[in-house]
Subunit: 161 residues, 2 copies
């Protein structure tokens, strides 16, 4: 895809996240995009992102779901406010709660696709559900409760990502 | 600590997990130990394990909780069977479900301690709860449903880690 990802709109000081920060040179660089009412990310695990033999590490799956859903929460809030993502003030969400069900082993060696939908958007809180597919099969399902960060990073004391 | 960690008893072919495998050179090398009825792991995040400025990445927190709880599930099952961890057949658990509540931002630059307890142990299913502390403050709480792997890795199709 050639358009900018949700995460590419995050301000520089909020773009060092290990999961999705474009400025974290060691990070996973998760990138999320709209596809109609759903958001989508595609991730290519490295050979060392292994859990048990042949299958992807569950912590990687939860990380992809986490960053993809907080990114979706931000993008959906811009949409709800009728704003483009490059307008100020920037919106950045952190994770209050993460729940992942691992339905079947997720095969290594293929791209992973995560599709997400907004389940609830109320003020600074957005609930996002996600489905992870490998080889067209649903391997995991997740739900994230995302909370909008205070405008001054580090000023809050109730959430973390 | 000088004793062997739970994960050090995993057979070689099950020791390449990105989170806790001693044979994964790129991995996190999470190590868990008994401390009475609780299990404990201490993890030192790298500077790049960042989420938002000053705080640890949530996906790292979920990864530590994940591997620490599946390790605890294995160790608790050996205990319940009156067996030492170096006896055959080896027990290895994978994650069926992971739930993490991020209660407050988790500070960077300090060791993270995760303490876990077995909530339920029934046959091949073990439910483990975990608490993550930084600077003595509870920053996250988690619950993992862990399922014992089939003896032939890759032979099952209902769970993943």
């Amino acid at each position: 895809m050639t358009e900018k990802a949700f995460q590419d709109f995050y301000p520089d000081d909020l773009s060092r996240c290990y999961g999705c920060g474009r400025l974290n040179e060691h990070g996973l660089h998760i990138k999320s995009y709209w596809d109609g009412e759903e958001s989508v990310t595609v991730f290519h695990p490295k050979p060392y992102h292994l859990g048990v033999p042949g299958y992807v590490y569950g912590g990687l799956i939860s990380s992809i779901i986490d960053c993809h859903c907080t990114g979706t929460a931000a993008a959906a809030t811009y949409r709800a406010q009728g704003r483009e993502m490059d307008t100020a003030p920037p919106l950045r969400f952190v994770t209050a709660s993460l729940h992942v069900e691992y339905l079947r082993p997720t095969s290594m060696g293929v791209p992973l696709e995560v599709r997400a939908r907004v389940k609830e958007l109320k003020g600074r809180k957005v609930v996002v559900t996600a489905t992870l597919l490998a080889k067209g099969k649903v391997c995991a399902q997740g739900e994230v409760i995302a909370i909008q960060m205070p405008e001054h990073p580090g000023g809050g004391d109730t959430e973390s990502q």
